[in-house]
Amino acid sequence: MAGALTPAWAQLTIKITSGVTHPVPIAVVPFSEAPTDPVNVAGVIQHDLVGSGRFSALARAQMPATPSHAAQVAFPLWKSTGVDYMVVGRVVPLSGGELAVDFNLLNVLTGQSVVRKRFTGPPTALRNAAHRVSDAIYQAITGIRGAFDTRVAYVAVVGEGPAQRFQLVVADADGYNQHLILESRFPIMSPVWSPDGKWLAYVSFEDHLSAVYLQRVRTGQRYRVSARAGENGAPSFSPNGQELALTLSGVSGYPQIYVLDLHTHQLTRVTHTPAINTGAVWAPDGRALYFTSDRAGSPQIYRKSLTPGSYPRRITFTDGYNASPRVSPDGKLLAMVTQVDGRYCIAVQNLKTGAFRVLTQGPLDSTPSFAPNGATIIYAERPNPNGGAILATVSVDGLTGMTLKPTHGAVQDPTWGPFRQH
């Protein structure tokens, strides 16, 4: 029963919007592994690397051989294929039923090993081991920590009319390994991860009342932490996981931002303007909140220091509509939904220089969420005039994108989890 879920996306399509100018050519040689292994390890690695937009992969048919050890590699043959790097490896069964994944990233021009490692785990975690190989390769070549071995949470909407169901789902960042966290006849929205990746906070409208819940991902155990009169919405964990920012309207009808201390249960009001104030997220140092407010007419993003006595400062100044702020893990970029010529697009603003860059074309993009390495943003888009939302990613330079399409129903409200602790 628990976790049983018809896969919402068996179908998974990569769309490279334009790609970087000079992707790194790499050969991911099929790993030596038993035909009974549940995962094609090299296939997963290649999918990860190509999907990042920073690599181009040599087709299998053009590979001169299939070595699984560095000692078997005839480098001159590989040099002539034009690749700069190649990956060789093997899956080795260990006593006790676990599997080891050994890989070696080789510089084809020098013949040197760049990085070689072994990851071990049960056969059911082989796919995750492959993502860890991708992470290691990505970091060795780009200098940026990989985020392939991470998870996303999102809301799937399936069925229609009285049969409609909202599902809170957790999956690997590439859409595989889906797990059902919650199913309801009522809307579920605004999921967000705790910093340690063990909890999700979300909004659920059970019995036509909004409430904020915390739920432990592994066990399903959950707690209702706010069910006050009016709106209970937009939860966000503080960086230390001890506080939750959220939106409460009370009976006034004006949504205001509060901080709930999860230790003392103390509720501190942050905004005091008779307008919509919502969607707060924390600065990485935990000392300020970014949020959406229409206090000046149209929705714009503001920053409020949590130092007592400080006033909110407006952050966005482009015309029309800026909402759903998300701060990059390094605190340097602010992602948001912005309106450009009537189209809703994902944009990033450099918080230091103010430089503003629209990353997507819309027309109906929403809910951006940074990967924990800050290199990629996942968001929801509605490309189909009659259909629901699908998920998409875009690199923060706007050059590379990928879509994750469900086979049926809609998927929305994606939120990228933290790095996993191994």
Binding site: A2, G3, S184, P187, W199, D207, H208, R216, Y223, L262
Partner: protein
Amino acid sequence: MRRILTVMVLAAALGLAACASKPVKPAASQSAGQAGAGAESQGAGSGANAGEGSLGNQQSVPGPQQGLLADRTIHFAFNSAVIRGRGIQIVAAHAKYLADHPSARVRLEGNTDDRGSPEYNIGLGMRRAESVRQAMLLQGVSPSQITVVSYGEERPVDPANNPIAWAKNRRVDIVYLTPTQPGK
């Protein structure tokens, strides 16, 4: 571990452990090597997902049906909570009915189109529902007769992505509650 305990204490202090009769199914996420973790999960066997059809369009709509009272939807302009045109008459008709029938109860459900931020849209739906509530209070309805909820963009009547659908979805629905129906 420290936070787990904290949250449990918090839930206990507020008396807010999730109710098993709720029409939702929390589910344990069973990844590799986590067998047995489900022992702590709750609700997985409650099977409480069936029944009661107050989601979206009801088959039999409770409440008065005569004249304007059969119309339960007030529409709004983009990013606006101003009640206009026919909406004014619909609100007035229901306000009069509610004032004349103090035991009648309604839930005002605010909705938006699906453009932009879902969280901002919850606020906008709340503003629309509040706008209708204030108009009803001014016309003699008791505050105890009205509950307000905003679904934002989550429950469109038309899921299409075009201006006609968006106009249909920017609305407040007036839902009459039968005495047994939840929603205070």
